[in-house]
Amino acid sequence: MVEDVKFRASYNFAFIDESTKKEVRRKILKAVCIPGYQVPYSSPEMPISRGWGTGGLHLTLSLIGPRDVFKIIDQGSDASVNACSLRQFVKRMTGCEVTFDTAAATLIQSRHRVPEEILTDKQILVLQVPQPEVLRGVERYEFKTRQMHAEADYAKIWVSLYEAYVRFGTMMRGSGYPIRVNGRYIATPSPIPRWDVPNLSMAHCLYLFGAGREKRIHCIPPYTKVEPLEFEDVLFHVEAFPGIRCAASGEDNAFLDEIYDDEGTRKFVINDSNFLDKVRSGPRPSQRLFTNPD
């Protein structure tokens, strides 16, 4: 009997079909084995627009199981519109428990921020990546950048940092600061602020990076050395908020958002929405803080 499946509305668990999930998982394993190396993968289309988190979703949906507890943030906020849209999708496709609580999540998907609270060896952080090719700014052709990575030919990106410093007095990379992973591949940490970059090195958790549109996965495994590119005499600094405290909680030592109220007054508020909720209602969660060199 031929079943009429014309306008079927039921989907496989986690939306993606099983053989594609297998392929993505194999590619994830390869990425774990070669820290910082961009592994090409099939990147099937999703009902979410390219550039809006399909890569993150591919990783999440290939790894997620019915007992996972899922958290998703965008620019640090659980309540941000795109985070809500993606959360809705994942919940609908998996029936998983979802949470805003960083400590309670087993799988966290994030756009452009690493949570302030330390992640454990039971947690995976999936980061959404718009442009995985850290060399794309100095070399537009994919076949050339592939060769450059294979031969560890990173001259051009070093020169671009030098030129930026010479021209502007700083290396001018506000976010997406280039990093060297495990002493070999230079990679992008995705457009996270410099504040978050030190958190990537020698962490307990697993960091996965998914670029859906460009079809690449890369990884920073736990206990891996990650070094932001710097010169001996021009060192990496994280953002400083001298003398500034969060207007909502009075705390400092966290990445702050600038906001403008209706009168046009500028205020600063802790960016990580769950961290902010926690410091306002209880003990401050543990963080890994970086001290800027003098």
């Binding site: 014309k6 989907y11 939306f15 993606i16 079909d17 594609t20 392929e23 090409p40 993968y41 099939s42 990147s43 099937p44 289309e45 999703m46 009902p47 627009s49 390219r50 550039g51 809006w52 399909t54 965008d74 620019q75 640090g76 906020s77 309540a79 941000s80 519109v81 795109n82 985070a83 809500c84 849209s85 756009r111 452009h112 921020r113 718009p130 537009r140 052709y141 994919e142 076949f143 592939r146 502007f168 007095g169 700083t170 001018m172 506000g174 976010s175 457009p191 996270i192 602020p193 410099r194 549109r213 079809k215 953002e239 207007a247 909502a248 990445f255 958002d257 600038e258 960016n271 902010l276």
Partner: protein
């Protein structure tokens, strides 16, 4: 006023979805039926099926209806839908010589075996705005009745398939089948693996076949205007239905139906690299779902152009053409700029403020230096001449 955390993102997007529906229905119009979209927006559906890379006029019609006619969104929906479907078979290669031809022309020759069949086309109509569709109900029955009465049913059996114009050129030795034997001829499935460059021809053709029509048109046009080397002629353009066959698990060939495709064979010249080699004719190939002639013509031109890499012209550059005509990816990424970017923006502001501060300090230092020099000069007595 205390700080109010930005909650309610979920509410915002739920309300946004409702507002879309509100704007759709608020004039209380007569709802369109999906079958009406399917039959009366045939060419739009063909475009969406091609870019959505899924041959199903009904699904395309539904998608178009769902998104109020936004073609980018409709193609996107089809692609996403396609991604959930299980791939059971790869069809046998379509043989367009078996096509039931509805339209078939050649610009290369005035007369060809089988004749030029203009078929259904608006190419030779005047684009005058015709209000009659808005005003009157077209007399469909009368029109069809009259039209069908002119068909001579005894002649229907005489319709055979048509040979290809390029066969003529091959038999004369002006075109050869084995022209590009040194190119990468692996057959890959671009939906199953990420393509690396330089890409094999099968990947290039697949990407061109599902490319966004406007993007292809833009770059194809540029190659005709001096941004590339393109001097091509339509060797043959044909549109019609072709049978689709698969080989099942037991090895038997099965016929699963017919699909409508448009095909173009664009005739150009092989780039001559060796002295003494003849500049024989080459085929730039274009094929897509439904009737979309602009797409296959441009596809054929770009197929040829991509075989002759040239850093000075975008149309001859694989990475440029294939990355940037991919409609779903470009639509997504250009529109992703609407997403919040405040963290990255702020990080940039931090940097900029440092630079500005530094520049001001420098100015301050220089101003002080200048003042010191001027003061010293004023204090020194000037020599008398």
């Amino acid at each position: 006023m205390g700080y109010v955390a930005v909650k309610g993102g979920q509410d915002a997007i739920d309300n946004a979805a409702e507002l879309v529906e509100y704007y759709r229905w608020r004039e209380r119009p007569q709802p369109i039926e999906t079958t009406q979209v399917r039959s009366q927006f045939r060419l739009l559906i063909d475009k969406v099926m091609g870019e959505g890379s899924l041959y199903s006029p009904e699904h395309a019609a539904l998608a178009l209806q769902q998104v109020e006619g936004d073609v980018f969104e409709a193609a996107f929906i089809l692609r996403a839908y396609r991604a959930t479907l299980q791939r059971r078979f790869y069809s046998d290669t379509l043989n367009t010589r078996d096509m039931f031809v509805q339209r078939r022309i050649s610009s290369a020759f005035r007369e060809i075996p089988g004749g030029q069949v203009l078929g259904p086309t608006r190419d030779y109509t005047q684009r005058l705005l015709d209000p009659s569709l808005a005003r009157d109900t077209p007399g469909i029955d009368a029109f069809l009745g009259e039209f069908e009465s002119r068909i001579d049913r005894t002649k229907l059996r005489g319709v055979t398939s048509f040979s290809k114009v390029i066969d003529l050129l091959m038999s004369e030795g002006l075109m050869r089948r084995d022209q590009y034997t040194d190119e990468d001829r692996r057959v890959v499935d671009i939906t199953r693996e990420a393509i690396k460059f330089p890409a094999p021809r099968s990947a290039r053709l697949q990407m061109l076949a599902r490319a966004e029509t406007g993007g292809l048109m833009c770059i194809g046009y540029s190659t005709m205007r001096g941004y590339g080397e393109s001097h091509q002629t339509v060797g043959e353009l044909r549109m019609g239905t072709v049978p689709v066959r698969i080989t099942d698990q037991s090895g038997r060939k099965r016929y699963i139906g017919r699909i409508k495709v448009t095909e173009a064979e664009m005739i150009g010249r092989v780039a001559v690299k060796k002295k003494g080699a003849l500049p024989l004719l080459s085929v730039g190939y274009g094929l897509c779902f439904g009737q979309n002639e602009t797409k296959v013509i441009c596809m054929g031109m770009l197929d040829s152009a991509l075989r002759n890499p040239n850093v000075n012209s975008p149309g001859n550059n694989q990475e440029f053409v294939l990355y940037h005509t991919e409609g779903v990816e470009s639509y997504g990424f250009t529109n992703h700029l609407k997403l919040p970017h405040y963290v990255t923006f702020q990080a940039g502001l931090h940097n900029l403020r440092d630079v500005v501060d530094r520049a001001e300090k420098q100015r301050g230092v220089r101003a002080a230096e200048f003042a010191a020099v001027a003061a010293a000069a004023a204090a020194t007595p000037k020599p008398r001449l």
